[in-house]
């Protein structure tokens, strides 16, 4: 009996080893395949390596899978269109498990061993913040696809951000609440991490300066599912709007439980819930009427948006979310810059600082400022019949211009 168990355990260990190695070797395999598929005549040139990391395992694995698909789609399309002036792009990707320590190891590997020319972070603010100084020291440009903490780009001039910084989105949220939704008494219910506290601070500052009253601020931890106690309290306070910087999992529970409790206040969300599969599938019809600020406008008639929506759906079998669109854009910006300025890190840096009116899926990028922050319009979306639709767009430079230091 004991022997059988021992053998069984041994098999388990082997299975782990195989699975583990399998995912580690993915970048090499992908690169190899793409090379043999499209690049037989171009074999003389070494591929351009772009680093990438995302939380493929752990609590944010769904976002991880989403951005991983976006990255693979982007690289495939770049290579199908002839690569960077004939040179193929190779994706060197890793799983950070939403763990900053793991992300730091990955950053060391990407900068010292893999010799990537640029990197895209497909992870949250926490891990992205932790690795930004490493890429700065190694003088390799990094674009944070959707991490919104202000500290990320402050690591130095090699660090850029594809999505607007939290302070812009928080301000935009308060603008929507007061100017577009007419809120006077606002309750805030935010996730207790970099994402939630950044948005809350800037939302509160703008809302209070513009005459709204913040009646209460409550926070919850990542993975929280039970909001009836705090929503019951908010209902008693008589708030006419609830601002909820939350991710899809928690956000879906907030809107469902708010409906169960008969909370009549308008709910205002952020890009954190901008996901069809993660958010709308769970919240279902209770999400109707929710308004969010985000990067992605699915109703846009710009060609690049509609093409991405179709391509991504064909590629994965489900509709893309905000994180996928932002990640895709980060790769496309890099490709366009490398085509024009060259594939050396210093050339990419120069190119990024000169980006102007780039047609990205998440809006027209007016350019990156000295800090590496992007300027683009903030999208306001409303959920109608279980789908995100455009509710408006904020172009006011007063609001969308990111801080420069």
């Amino acid at each position: 009996m004991k022997k059988i168990i021992f053998v069984g355990l041994l098999i388990l260990v082997f299975a782990f080893a195989v699975f583990g190695c399998g995912s580690n070797q993915q970048p090499a395999d992908n690169g190899g395949e793409q090379q043999s598929q499209t690049g037989e005549q171009q074999q003389s040139k070494e591929p351009v390596k772009i680093g990438f990391f995302a939380p493929l395992t752990g609590p944010a694995a769904a976002d991880g899978e989403s951005v991983q698909n976006a990255a693979e789609l982007a690289v495939e399309q770049i290579n199908d269109a002839g690569g960077i002036n004939g040179q193929l792009v190779e994706l060197v990707d890793y799983d950070d498990g939403l763990d900053s320590k793991q992300a730091v190891n990955i950053a060391q590997k990407l900068t010292n061993k893999d010799n990537v020319v640029a990197t895209v972070s497909g992870s949250y603010s926490g891990p992205t913040r932790a690795v930004a100084p490493i890429f700065q020291r190694a003088q390799i440009p990094m674009i944070s696809a959707y991490g919104l903490h202000p500290e990320i780009t402050k690591a130095g001039d090699f660090i850029f951000r594809q999505s607007f910084v939290g302070t812009v989105q928080g301000k935009a949220g308060a603008y929507v609440a007061i100017e577009m939704l007419g809120a006077k008494k606002i309750a805030i219910l935010h996730i207790d991490n970099d994402f939630g506290s950044t948005l809350t601070e800037s939302f509160k500052a703008y809302a209070e300066a513009n005459g709204a009253e913040i009646v209460s601020i409550d926070s919850f931890s990542f993975g929280e599912k039970e909001f009836t106690p705090v929503l019951t309290k908010i209902k008693e306070e008589g708030a006419d709007l609830v601002y909820m910087p939350a991710y899809a999992g928690e956000g879906a529970q907030i809107v469902r439980q708010a409906k169960d409790l008969g909370l009549e206040a308008q709910l205002l969300g952020t890009e954190g819930v901008d996901s069809t599969t993660q958010f709308l599938e769970v919240a279902a019809d209770t999400a109707d009427g929710l308004v969010i600020t985000t990067n992605l406008n699915r109703d846009s008639d710009r060609e690049v948006v509609q093409k991405f929506l179709t391509d991504y759906t064909d590629f994965t079998g489900h509709a893309p979310d905000m994180v996928a669109a932002s990640t895709y854009d980060a790769f496309m910006v890099l490709a366009s810059v490398m085509k024009e300025y060259g594939t050396e890190p210093a050339q990419i840096l120069e190119g990024l600082s000169k980006v102007k009116n780039f047609e990205a899926v998440t809006g027209v990028l007016h350019g990156y400022n000295d800090l590496g922050e992007v300027t683009k319009a903030v999208q306001v979306q409303e959920v109608k019949n279980g789908e995100f639709h455009s509710y408006g767009q904020i172009d006011d430079p007063e609001i969308i211009t990111p801080p420069n230091k």
Binding site: G8, T57, A61, A62, E65, E226, T228, K233
Partner: protein, 285 residues
């Protein structure tokens, strides 16, 4: 508002009671802390969702989910926990943590990392008044928990199996010498324990309309607080402790605000109560 918060608290407490009951039963007999109960909770929710989506029957969802997860429990105790019984309890504790991580990653690899919607038709309609809202799913949870706990109480207190369970829990060796089929008791124990965890997982899936691979993470440590508070291995203590923690979380969250993460409240309550009752709310000694 107080009545609303009270009902919120009872619903949360009911879920906790079922979640921690599996671990309590296992500790009661085996004297090991089985973290993998939280794995059974997630597994049960997924099996339940699969059953619901294929059959559309809520009753079958619970039966199939509990039965299959219970059988998984019987399997792991035969292959893993029983062979480790003569080792230090730390060995099986670590093994159960490993098994839990393995199981949630296995679920992720098979079912995918995204949240899956669990939209079940609940046979109770929601009640709405001016001051009170009661969701149909809450009624389902309270009724199901009460039913399952009643069955367990009957089993433990009114049948020979219950007597054998108690004898085994008190002293495994002596029970064996007195002719109790200890192996069967241990297997039955896991069948029930994991089955209860599965029922809790299914109820939470329905309550929050969603299941996801890491859904066992929070129960994995919170159930520890509950079984320790309940006096380690006492089923009645576990139910009381679950209600105490469920109510503490809602009332503190509702009246004082979330000055702490809600999950921390369970541990604060645990510390305060252990200061006065170091053996837990209900202890055998």
């Amino acid at each position: 508002m107080f009545l609303q918060q009270l009902i919120n608290g009872i619903v949360i407490g009911s879920v906790y009671a079922l979640t921690a009951m599996g671990a309590t039963l296992v500790y009661g007999i085996m004297r090991i802390l089985d973290i993998n109960n939280a794995g059974a909770y997630a597994l049960g929710a997924y099996v339940g969702l699969l059953t619901y989506n294929t059959t559309g029957s809520l009753l079958l969802t619970f039966i199939v989910g509990m039965l299959l997860t219970g059988l998984y429990g019987v399997l792991v105790q035969k292959l893993l926990y029983v062979p480790m019984l003569d080792k230090s309890p730390n060995v099986s504790l670590i093994a159960s943590i490993g098994l839990f991580i393995f199981l949630s990653d296995l679920i992720r690899m098979v079912a995918g990392p995204s949240i899956k919607g669990f939209h079940a038709e609940v046979p109770f309609s929601s009640i709405y008044t001016d001051s009170l809202n009661i969701n149909g799913a809450w009624i389902l949870i309270i009724v199901t928990t009460f039913l399952l706990l009643a069955v367990l109480w009957f089993l433990l207190n009114k049948t020979k199996i219950g007597l054998a369970w108690k004898a085994t829990a008190q002293d495994l060796e002596t029970a064996k010498a007195m002719g109790v089929n200890v192996n069967m008791m241990v297997a039955l124990n896991y069948l029930l324990g994991y089955g209860f965890a599965a029922a809790a997982g299914i109820m939470v899936g329905i309550l929050y309309s969603s299941v996801f691979p890491t859904m066992g993470d929070v129960p994995a440590y919170k159930m520890l607080a509950i079984i320790v508070l309940g006096g380690l291995g006492s089923p009645v203590g576990t139910v009381i402790a679950a209600m105490v923690i469920g109510l503490a979380e809602t009332l503190i969250g509702g009246y004082i605000g979330f000055f702490l993460p809600r999950d921390a409240i369970a541990f604060v309550v645990l510390i305060i109560i252990l200061l006065f009752r170091p053996r837990g709310l209900i202890s055998k000694n």
